[in-house]
């Protein structure tokens, strides 16, 4: 019974997180002026880009504040905790498990701002 309630809570919380996540996110431009970013789409796919040029496509699933991602550049699943702050306009991806070293190292340094 407890697990049913827990599952129900997860399901209830998921749409809220998805609404928060859906849309375009960008960190500050790099020293060279390059702007990376990611668009999370409602259909559970995302596109990462540099200077408005897509370079990685992927799929994501949400479970409460955990996001699982798998993409063309690395076919191993990465799991991150979504840390929204500043009224959900800022977002940090805290690595939980990701064997794609380059992606993990890149993600943990970045703070994303919502692009309105």
């Amino acid at each position: 019974m407890k697990s049913l309630i827990f599952a129900a809570m997860l399901m209830a919380s998921a749409p809220g997180v998805k609404e928060q996540l859906t849309g375009r996110w960008e960190p500050k431009p790099s020293i060279n002026g390059n702007i990376t970013g990611v668009v999370f789409k409602p259909d559970n796919t995302y596109e990462a880009y540099i200077n408005k040029k897509p370079f990685v496509s992927g799929r994501y699933t949400l479970q409460d504040s955990l996001i699982s991602i798998i993409e063309t550049a690395c076919d191993k699943t990465g799991i991150y905790r979504l840390n929204f702050f500043s009224g959900s306009d800022s977002l940090r991806f805290v690595p939980v498990m990701d064997s794609c070293d380059q992606r993990r190292e890149g993600m943990k340094k970045l703070v994303f701002g919502r692009v309105k």
Partner: protein, 319 residues
């Protein structure tokens, strides 16, 4: 009263004309770089500019297999597009330049291209009243090799394109942005065609050097990267080019040997059929891809979807 109004009108007109003429003068490095890019003053006989071989209509590439330099001299490699170079490192087919600034000066001195020592270029620019004043305003100094390179590189950095059908498809939820054939082609690009292995990233290149089998030490004897690195393993390797705007940059490959994308796809599908005695060819191309006729067409449709809107509009306007 009427007289005063006329005088005021004349004064405003003069100010407006002066303002308009001033606005044609460069106000930053990129604008200065643009003027220099199109000015043959940078070549020995003042007949060749950067734009002679990097033509705007062809995504700043050349539509000849090799370009023509001063006195009709022919180059030895196909002029690549200088669009989408912000993320490119190193530069040139053989990677001889580490930065855009370094790249910008090399064709000026190349005897087969513009054939003018940088020292002489700088003297010319210093003697030119307009250039001298532009450089002083923008760099607070007379023209030098360094600020010339900075200006040209700054202009090249403005030549980024990100408005292709492919871009729009990727960023929107609208699946009609590209054709069904292009979508199937994208799947082949990432799978059976193995293209993504080398053409991965925002500009569809990993910036690596690869030997695709266009070196046989005989009629195809450009050693490519090896001449720069001195490494025998680099024999016949060339920098993987970006695929953005590929449809408007024929001919293809470092020597411009393929005139169409169809020919390129046929080559990759069965390299041995085209170059049977290739030396040091990448193992990725060891076996024929065995693409069907439809798969080849789909792959081409995907490549066409990488053309920026500005070229599609221009093409339509020419019809």
């Amino acid at each position: 009263m009427k007289k005063n109004a006329i005088i005021l009108l004349i004064i405003f007109t003069i100010i407006a004309i002066q303002a308009a003429s001033l606005s044609e003068e460069p106000s930053n490095k990129a604008e200065l770089g643009k003027i220099l890019f199109f000015d043959p003053i940078l070549s020995r006989d003042s007949t060749v500019s950067c734009a002679s071989c990097h033509k705007p209509a062809f995504a700043f590439a050349d539509n000849s297999a090799v370009s023509t330099g001063v006195k009709g001299k022919k180059g030895i490699r196909n002029s690549p597009s200088v669009m989408n170079v912000v993320l490119r490192r190193p530069l040139f087919w053989d990677g001889r330049a580490k930065t855009l600034e370094e790249q910008a000066l090399i064709p000026i001195e190349n005897p087969l291209e513009m054939d003018l020592p940088i020292k002489e270029v700088v003297e010319r620019l210093q003697k030119s009243k307009s250039y001298s004043s532009y450089f002083k305003r923008i760099f607070n100094e007379e023209p030098t090799a360094q600020n010339l390179a900075q200006a040209l590189a700054a202009f090249e950095r403005t030549l980024e394109t990100n408005e292709s059908a492919f871009d729009r498809w990727k960023f929107s939820d609208d699946s009609t942005m590209v054709t069904k054939a292009a979508k199937r082609g994208f799947v082949i690009f990432n799978g059976k065609g193995k293209c993504v292995t080398c053409h991965f990233g925002a500009d569809m290149t990993t910036n690596e050097f690869r030997n695709i089998g266009l070196f046989n030490g005989k009629e195809l004897n450009d050693s490519g990267r090896a001449a720069i690195s001195g490494n025998i393993n680099d024999l016949g390797k060339f920098k993987v080019p970006s695929l953005r705007n590929i449809a408007v940059t024929p001919p293809y490959m470092h020597n411009g040997m393929f005139k169409t994308l169809k020919e390129v796809i046929e080559f990759y599908n069965e390299p041995d059929k085209h170059i049977g005695n290739a030396v040091n060819r990448d193992s990725l191309l060891a076996k024929p891809l065995q693409l069907t006729r439809r798969e080849k067409k789909d792959l081409e449709a995907f490549l066409l979807s990488l053309t920026d809107q500005q070229f599609i509009t221009k093409k339509n306007n020419r019809r």
